[in-house]
Amino acid sequence: MSNSLLTLAVFLPLAGAAVVAALPSTAGHFAVRVGCAFALVALVSGVVAGAGFDYSAAGTPQLVVDARWIPAIDVHFHLGVDGVSLPLLELSLLVSALCFVYLQWRLPEPGRPKALVALLLLLETGMNGTFVALDLILFFVFWETVLIPMYFIIGLWGGVDRRHAAIKFFLYTFFGSAFMLLSFLAIYFTAGTFDITRLTAHAPAGFGGVLGDVVFLGLFLGFAVKVPLWPLHTWLPDAHTEAPTVGSVLLAAVMLKMGAYGFIRIAFPVLPQAAHDFAPVIAVLAVIAILYGALCCLAQTDLKRLIAFSSVGHMGFIMLGIATMTEIGVNGAVFGMVAHGLITGMLFFVAGSLHERYHTRSIPELGALLSQAPRLGSVLTFTAIASLGLPGLAGFWGELLSLLGAYSPGPGLNVVLYRVLMAGGGIGIILTAGYFLWTLQRVTLGRPSERNAALVITDVHALEWGAWAPLVGLIVVAGVWPGLVLGSTVGAVHQLLAGIAQ
Amino acid sequence: MPVAYFLVLSSLIFSLGVYGVLVRRNAVLVLLSIELMLNAVNLNFVAFSALFGAHGAAGQVFALFVIAVAAAEVGIGLAIVILIFRNRSSVDVDELSFLKW
């Protein structure tokens, strides 16, 4: 029974999508409620799975489901969670469910709840599956499953420039995953299996030299586009800006994590030698992303675009942590992934709610939010403060551990280079504080302009609280008690790095 | 009768068909011209079948095959033409470029 929990958590949303699609087109908001119910049940089964998780053996996959799927090329339907995937699976389940709560408050134009809900549920299955798939082909199927619903969500419910953004998003990520698939095939033909657990337990032989580097490069393109790592990030601001609120939230909170997860789960353990060669490059790109993201944030006048660029910077910290190849750094990266999911998801929720009220995302046109809607302004202030990495809130620990990892990187990596990069990250911390506080000043403080004073600005609605309270609570809890995430990741990261060190 | 006679006749009919397909504006006449081309081919098949009769009747079989396909093709083609005529009140092929992207 308990083993089917995982299948349930992954495929219940898919079943929900089928049910919602079968509803009569007159169902209207009822479709949202049905979708919410499915997402909540999936969340519950995920939480039950997490409660039954054996944290002392976090390094080995648990709740494993393994069935032959395509015998001709030895592809298995192989699911399982370990300490790294568990927090990300829970994050995906939680944020998806909260998106449905939020949808009950406000549907993006042009409505059509049935289609939107079905697509979101399909998307959720893809995201959940990516984090628990233990077979490269299955991983790839889930990975690509995510693309199509998101393409339609951006393209149909997005902003003014939605078509361009949707096509750019689709083609760019598809471009990356084509190379990823080629590398998967190369791995299969060299190592003889698609099974991730077997590939990572002992890094397969035969990937020395150029072949390993080329295969890694393919994986790198696939994962780095998704992260997104500078300079492969330019789809992100467009997609984030144009996507409807729930789309932006899921994109930022969960989908970006898939790329970083791919590095931790597949690229580094399967190709340790090549990873070692590439790690300094990734670290340099990551720190460029941190500084560059912060500078671009300073230049933004569009609130959602600003949050998008802040994601580029935060994902830079995560990639820096991974590239240190130390337990401290990688644990910091996974913690940072969860924290970024909670915080940036929250930021996009608030940005969406601001847009609903002020009908603009332009920072110069906003202002004095704290005087017109004090609660909403407080939530935005809280989230921005969390995002700039205040200790005691979730954003801090990921940055701390990533930078500490960079101070003494893994064996064989250039210490001087990494320390310079750490200093760069430190400057990034200062700039991050700068642009967030400047944004807060322009959005929440001052006196309302004539245009805004004429608007009727309602404060936070009960359904908005319903969607936000869990995130706000978890931001505090993860900040005060980092063991919430680290308790499960530490063992798994230990296992993965032990495999790499062999 | 030398086979060359049949070939000359067939190529004349075929050329007539090509001319019709390329120049006629009326879609029905275009379809008719296609039939001409097909029948020119059929004539060739039958002629060669008679010439190489010792080797079996493969040419005649193919001719029958082509007649069957032509019938289906004309059926569908005319159906399309009728639908286009209903929608646009015209079967002028010069105006039929709305499938272009």
Binding site: Y292, L298, N331, S371, G392, I430, L437, Q441, L445, G446 | -
Partner: protein
């Protein structure tokens, strides 16, 4: 409770003090608006109870209870273990008394001062949060926990400086304060990393032990100590990061008294004191501390002399006095430094609250709008005078004992031939003492003597404000005696960890203080002659001093330098360059460009796809004829 006291003092329960403050924060934040008093009693009671507990705990320490060290594991995995604990010793005990006393006074004062201001309840919640965070910082037994408190107080400072955020000037000052101190904070964080990798622990006591025993390499120690000091420079407003503190005066006066005079800004001094053995074991670190502090005290005292805004005078004065504390640390006068921290907290809080009372009455921050307030506001006048005299170092007030001890100890260090930096500290301390006496005299004369130059109808402030003023006056009068030479107990309480109190010396502890009193009195006399009697007219225009005056009056052009050379270029030019040019044009240009090229190629090819069936067929036949021709040949 008696059982607790008997079993080794209240020490192990001192976490209750920050605990109460945090509890008060949540109660006021979520319930304050529904309370009839709008929440201030919750904060006052929490701070008052905290003060009683602090006094009780300190009495326990003074009567021989052991210092308390407790530590629990916060989280750990191979290679790293972060603890959460408490260290309650004399140093922490003194800080507890300072923080809770000033917090209590500021909160009582605010019931009157902030009564008609917006966001009253939030103001009290933030004060409680600040008090709790500051105590968390003080109680920390490891550097990560200290960093947590360090950042939280910075956040509260940001909120409270920008309390009147309707005006963008105030919120800009808050941002400036946060960002400037955050530069230092990154240094503190990296210093923590350096020491952690060097000694494999975040524990403060263990780091000090390891440093003193020589278990940490010299390079690591020096780098670590200097990076930690960068944090102290930011938080304690030392040169060259002091620029945020004068602007931070945009906050309400009680906030200036609590955060920007008595507690948060001395966190840097506390940090150096906590990590003193690390600083001492690293060769260059204390020299750097001394030089930076000497520069700071001098330039800040000079800047205070030319300000017209009464709170800015006091802000520069605070910067200068923290320079004294830092300098004392730099020359090894540990006890003197903390003693000055202790007395300064009371008299500077008194001065800020007094300034608030003046501003409340006159409606202006500027001395040029005041004058002659001696008779109209007697309570404010007398209490302010005591605070000012203490600041100037007049016997027998608190500042005399503490500041002159620093001057004496600097000379002791210098004459023992240890460091040339001690001479620099000594010289700059003496000059600063003279400047201090001058600006203090100017301040008092301009505010309280002469004719009233403002336009409002004057009134003495209500009791809610004068009460705390008198209480702090009492503390200012009394605190100094703890540090009396010979009989004073302060030096026995607080000293370099593991060392005996320095002995009494007639020269350094008696003669020299008297000499420095003469300097202070001379300063006061000159000031009186200049500003009250008008004997000498200080006219710098046209003299050789004019450029110097302009230089000081423009805050040494440091603000302009930072703004025009660092902040603006990053905020506008670099940001726009990165986004508009590099991101949109180059990187995204490549991405979109590849799409455009594909589109162009397709556009060229689509000419063939005319949609005309007959053209397709013509093409088909043409190709067919050509191919057939080729094949036949």
């Amino acid at each position: 409770m008696l059982g607790i006291a008997g079993a080794g003092g209240i020490g192990p329960f001192m976490w209750l003090v920050p605990g109460l403050a945090f509890a008060s924060f949540f109660v006021v934040l979520f319930g304050g608006r529904r309370m009839p008093d709008r929440g201030h009693w919750t904060g006052i009671v929490a701070a008052g109870a905290g003060l009683l507990l602090s006094l009780w705990g300190f009495a326990g320490l003074a009567t021989g209870a052991e210092a308390v060290h407790r530590s629990w594991t916060w989280f750990q995995f191979p290679g790293i273990s972060v603890g959460f604990g408490m260290t309650y010793d004399f140093l922490a005990g003194i800080m507890f008394i300072v923080v809770t006393t000033v917090s209590l006074m500021a909160q009582i004062y605010s019931t009157a001062y902030m009564r008609d201001e917006p966001r009253y309840t939030w103001f009290y919640a933030a004060l409680s949060l600040f008090t709790g965070s500051m105590l968390l910082l003080v109680l920390a037994d490891n550097l990560v926990q200290l960093f947590l408190g360090w950042e939280l107080v910075g956040l509260c400072s940001y909120f409270l400086i920008g309390h009147f955020w309707e005006s963008s000037e105030n919120s800009s000052a808050a941002i400036k304060a946060f960002i400037t101190t955050r530069i230092g904070d990154v240094g503190l964080l990296f210093g923590t990393f350096v020491l952690f990798i060097g000694a494999h622990t975040f524990d403060i006591a263990a780091l000090n032990r390891a440093a003193a025993a020589g278990h940490i390499g010299q390079g690591v120690l020096t780098a670590g100590a200097l990076l930690l000091f960068l944090g102290a420079i930011g938080k304690s407003a030392q040169f060259p990061l002091h620029v945020w503190l004068p602007d931070a005066m945009a906050g309400p006066s009680p906030v200036s008294a609590l955060i920007h005079a008595a507690t948060m800004v001395v966190a840097g001094v506390y940090l150096v004191a906590r990590m003193f053995l690390v600083f001492r074991a690293a060769h260059a670190a204390l020299d750097v501390v001394s030089i930076i502090a000497a520069i700071t005290m001098l330039i800040a005292a000079a800047a205070a002399l030319v300000q017209d805004d009464i709170k800015r005078v006091l802000a520069y004065s605070t910067v200068s006095q923290i320079g004294y504390m830092m300098a004392a640390m730099g020359v090894g006068a540990y006890s003197a430094s903390i003693f000055h921290l202790f007395t300064h907290a009371f008299f500077k809080a008194l001065l800020f609250l007094g300034a608030g009372s003046l501003i409340h009455a006159t409606g202006s921050n500027y001395m040029s709008d005041m004058g002659g307030l001696r008779t109209r506001m007697p309570h404010t006048f007398w209490t302010f005078l005591v605070g000012a005299a203490a600041l100037a170092g007049i016997f027998p007030l608190a500042g005399f004992f503490s500041k002159d001890e620093i001057v004496g100890e600097a000379l002791r260090a210098a004459s023992s031939g240890r460091q040339i930096t001690a001479w620099i500290v000594f010289a700059s301390a003496v000059v600063s003492a003279l400047l201090t006496a001058l600006y203090v005299t100017k301040l008092c004369v301009r505010v309280f003597y002469g004719e009233y130059r403002g336009s409002t109808i004057l009134h003495e402030s209500p009791r809610g404000m004068t009460g705390p003023l008198w209480a702090l006056t009492a503390a200012t009068l009394g605190a100094g005696f703890l540090g009396l030479p010979v009989v004073g107990v302060f030096r026995h309480w607080i000293n370099i960890p593991g060392e005996a109190a320095p002995g009494f010396s007639t020269l350094y502890n008696l003669v020299l203080p008297l000499g420095s009193l003469v300097v202070a009195l001379a300063g006061v006399w000159v000031g009186w002659q200049v500003w009250a009697r008008g004997r000498f007219v200080l006219e710098v225009k046209g003299t050789k001093l004019a450029p110097l005056y302009t230089f000081v009056a423009h805050k040494y052009y440091l603000d302009d330098l930072y703004l025009n050379v660092i902040v603006r270029p990053i905020q506008y030019e670099a940001a726009r360059g990165a986004y508009s040019w590099l991101d949109r044009r180059v990187i995204d240009g490549l991405v979109e460009g590849s799409a455009h090229i594909t589109g162009r190629v397709g556009g060229a090819l689509r000419i063939l796809q005319s949609g005309h069936l007959q053209r397709y067929l013509a093409l088909l036949f043409a190709v067919l004829v050509v191919v057939a021709g080729v094949v036949m040949n």
